[in-house]
C-alpha cells in the first residue's frame, strides 16, 4: 500500500520537470487555453450576475439611454406589489408539494429498480428517464390540448366514464395542481437518476457480508442501505429544489401564469415584466430577479440544514 502510493511521487520528483518550470515554459499557451472560458464565462455568467444587481437599482424601461438611478425604489415596489407576493407564494407552494414527493417516491423507485433480481431493469429505468429529456416547452404545449375541456382526449375518456368535463387548465382552482402533476411526471426521473447514482456508491461486498452474517433483507435495508444514503438526502433535495425553481418553460407554455394569476410563478412574472408588456420594466424585473436569487439561496440553505439534521438522526439510529 505504501509502496504504491509513494512510487508515483518519487518518480515525479526525479523524472518530471517541476510544475512551475513546466508552467513557465508554456505560460502563453496556458492563458490562451483559458481565454475562451474566461471571456465567455465572464461575459455571459459573471457580468450578467453583477449587471442584474446594478439594473435593479435603475428606473429603466429597457429602451433608450434614459436610466436614472432609483435607489431602493424597485425593491420597495416589489414588497408592496401583491402580484410579486402571489408569485413567491405559488413558487414556494410548488416546491413544498412536489419536492418531498419527488425525493421520497424517487428513492422508493430507485431501490426497486436497483434490485439485482429485477428483470429488464435497464428498460424500466429508461422509461422513467425519457420524460426528463423530452423538451419541456413541447410537453407544455401538447398538454394544453390533451387536457382541453372541449375536445381533449383526457376529458373524452372522463366523459365516457360519466365524469366531467374537467377544465384542468382553465379553472383557477385546478390549474396549479395540474401544472404540478405534469411537472412531477416529467421530472421524477431526474431525481430517480440522482438516487440511482447514490445507490451505486454502496459497495456490493458490504451487502454480501451482511447477508452471509445472516441479516435479513429488511435488516440490510435499515442498517446498511438507509444510513449510507443519508448523506445524499441534502444534495439531492437541493438539486431538486434548484431545478424546481426553474419551472418557466412548463408554466409559460401550459398557462402563461393564468388563469387569474393562479399559476404565476416568479420566473414567469419576471419574464412578463421584462418582455411581455407594452411597457417593459427592466429595472423592476431585475429587482424581482435578484429577490428570487436570494430566495433560492435561502430555501436551498434551509433545505440543506434540515436534511443534514434528518441525515444525522438517521445515521445515529
Amino acid at each position: 500500500m505504501t509502496l504504491v502510493s509513494t512510487a508515483p511521487a518519487r518518480r515525479a520528483a526525479t523524472t518530471r520537470p517541476p510544475e512551475q518550470a513546466r508552467s513557465r515554459r508554456h505560460g502563453p499557451w496556458i492563458w490562451l487555453f483559458l481565454l475562451p472560458t474566461i471571456v465567455l464565462f465572464g461575459a455571459y455568467t459573471v457580468w450578467p450576475a453583477l449587471a442584474s444587481i446594478w439594473y435593479s437599482f435603475l428606473s429603466w424601461s429597457g429602451y433608450g439611454p434614459e436610466r436614472p438611478f432609483a435607489g431602493w425604489a424597485n425593491y420597495q415596489l416589489a414588497f408592496s406589489d401583491p402580484l410579486f407576493w402571489k408569485s413567491i407564494g405559488v413558487t414556494l407552494l410548488i416546491i413544498v408539494v412536489t419536492v418531498p414527493l419527488r425525493v421520497l417516491l424517487a428513492l422508493v423507485l430507485a431501490i426497486f429498480l436497483n434490485d439485482p433480481r429485477l428483470p429488464f431493469a435497464r428498460v424500466l429505468r429508461t422509461a422513467f428517464f425519457v420524460p426528463v429529456v423530452a423538451t419541456t416547452a413541447i410537453i407544455g404545449i401538447v398538454m394544453n390540448f390533451v387536457l382541453d375541456p372541449a375536445g381533449g382526449p383526457v376529458n373524452h375518456v372522463l366523459g365516457n366514464l360519466g365524469i366531467g368535463p374537467v377544465d384542468f387548465l382553465g379553472d383557477s382552482s385546478a390549474a396549479l395542481w395540474t401544472v404540478m402533476g405534469v411537472h412531477f411526471w416529467k421530472w421524477l426521473g431526474l431525481t430517480l437518476m440522482y438516487w440511482l447514482a447514490a445507490l451505486q456508491t454502496i459497495p456490493n461486498d458490504v451487502q454480501e457480508a451482511a447477508r452471509v452474517d445472516g441479516a435479513t433483507a429488511r435488516q440490510r435495508f435499515t442498517h446498511i442501505t438507509l444510513p449510507m444514503l443519508a448523506p445524499f438526502v441534502a444534495i439531492i433535495t437541493m438539486l431538486t429544489i434548484v431545478e424546481t425553481m426553474q419551472i418557466f418553460d412548463l408554466v409559460q407554455t401550459m398557462t402563461g401564469g393564468g388563469p387569474f394569476f393562479s399559476t404565476l410563478v416568479t420566473e414567469v412574472y419576471i419574464y412578463q415584466q421584462a418582455f411581455e408588456t407594452a411597457k417593459p420594466e427592466y429595472g423592476y424585473a431585475s429587482a424581482v430577479g435578484v429577490l428570487l436569487g436570494v430566495l433560492t439561496l435561502v430555501v436551498v440553505g434551509a433545505a440543506a440544514i434540515v436534511s443534514r439534521l434528518i441525515g444525522r438522526k438517521g445515521a445515529v439510529q
Binding site: F33, T45, W47, P119, L124, I141, M193, D249, L297
Partner: protein
C-alpha cells in the same frame, strides 16, 4: 449437510425469482404509464383531424396519416425550425466541448499563478441561478449587434455555466500519467500537438458526456431562443416554433402532434442511444 442446504435453498431461490417478476409486473405498469403521454403524441401525429377527437387516449390510428408530417414540414415552417435547431445545437456542442476541454486541460495539468482564482470563480459562479441572467445577456447581445443572429444565439446558449464540464475535464486530465506527455515531447510534439493529438483523443468518454448533456440541454432550451427570436421568427428553433404554430393554426392538432414528434424524436433518440454518457454526467452532480 450439503443435501439439507440444497433442499432449503432451492424453494427460496424459486420464491426470490417469483418476487422479482411480481416486482417487474408492478414496475412495468408504472413505466408504461410514464411513457404513455409520449406514445400518445406519436400516435396522434398519425391520426386524421376527426379521429384525434373521437379516439380519446387510444394509441392505434385507424389509418396511418403521414400527411400531417408533410404539412408541418412544408406549411408550418418545421423544415426551417429543424435546420435552425440543428445548427444552433451543433454550434453549441462544439463551443462547449472546445472551451471546457481547453480550460480543463490547463487547470488539470499545470500549476500556474491564478489557477486557484480561476477555479474559485468557476465554483462560486455555479451557484448563480441561470434564469436571472437573461436581461443582461439580451443587453450585451444588442450592444454587440448579435441579438438577431445565429452566432448570438449560439453564444448565449453555450457561453454561460457549464462549470461541471470544465471540472469533468480537469479531473480527467489531472490523472493522466506524465510519461505520456513526456513521450509526446520526446517525439517533438509541442503544446498544441500534445493536446490535440494525444490528450483530447484520450478524453473520449468525457467528451461524449459533455457533448450529450449539452446536446440535450440546448435542443430543449426554450427561454433563450424565445427571447432571442422575438423580432426574427425565421430564426426560431423547434421548441419556440411550436409556440407560434399553436397560435396561428390553433385547430390543427394533428399537425401540432406531428411537429411535436419531429422535435422530440431526435433528442429522445440521442438519449436512448447514448444514455450511459448522459446518466454519468447527471451522476457527477450528486457525487461531487
Amino acid at each position: 449437510m450439503t443435501g439439507t442446504t440444497m433442499t432449503r435453498n432451492q424453494p427460496l431461490r424459486g420464491r426470490r425469482r417469483t418476487a422479482g417478476w411480481v416486482q417487474f409486473a408492478v414496475l412495468a405498469v408504472l413505466a408504461l404509464a410514464w411513457v404513455y403521454p409520449l406514445l400518445w403524441i406519436f400516435a396522434a401525429s398519425l391520426k386524421d383531424d376527426a379521429s384525434i377527437f373521437t379516439d380519446g387516449l387510444g394509441l392505434i390510428p385507424q389509418q396511418w396519416n403521414w400527411q400531417n408530417y408533410a404539412e408541418a414540414w412544408q406549411t408550418a415552417g418545421f423544415a426551417r425550425y429543424t435546420l435552425n435547431s440543428l445548427v444552433v445545437t451543433t454550434g453549441s456542442v462544439v463551443v462547449v466541448v472546445l472551451r471546457c476541454a481547453t480550460a480543463g486541460y490547463v487547470l488539470g495539468r499545470y500549476g500556474f499563478r491564478g489557477r486557484r482564482v480561476v477555479l474559485g470563480v468557476l465554483l462560486a459562479a455555479s451557484f448563480i441561478p441561470t434564469g436571472l441572467a437573461i436581461i443582461p445577456i439580451v443587453q450585451l447581445s444588442t450592444e454587440l449587434g448579435i441579438l438577431d443572429s445565429t452566432i448570438g444565439l449560439i453564444l448565449a446558449l453555450s457561453a454561460g455555466g457549464n462549470v461541471a464540464g470544465v471540472l469533468l475535464y480537469t479531473g480527467f486530465f489531472a490523472q493522466i500519467p506524465d510519461e505520456l506527455e513526456q513521450a509526446a515531447h520526446v517525439d517533438g510534439a509541442g503544446f498544441l500537438r500534445t493536446f490535440f493529438s494525444v490528450m483530447l483523443p484520450l478524453s473520449g468518454p468525457i467528451t461524449a458526456t459533455v457533448a450529450v448533456v449539452t446536446f440535450i440541454g440546448t435542443w430543449s432550451n426554450f427561454f433563450v431562443p424565445l427571447v432571442f427570436t422575438f423580432s426574427d421568427p425565421d430564426k426560431r428553433t423547434l421548441a419556440v416554433g411550436m409556440l407560434a404554430f399553436q397560435g396561428t393554426n390553433s385547430t390543427d392538432w394533428t399537425g401540432l402532434a406531428a411537429g411535436a414528434t419531429m422535435s422530440l424524436v431526435p433528442v429522445l433518440l440521442v438519449f436512448v442511444l447514448l444514455q450511459r454518457y448522459f446518466v454519468e454526467g447527471i451522476a457527477g452532480a450528486v457525487k461531487s
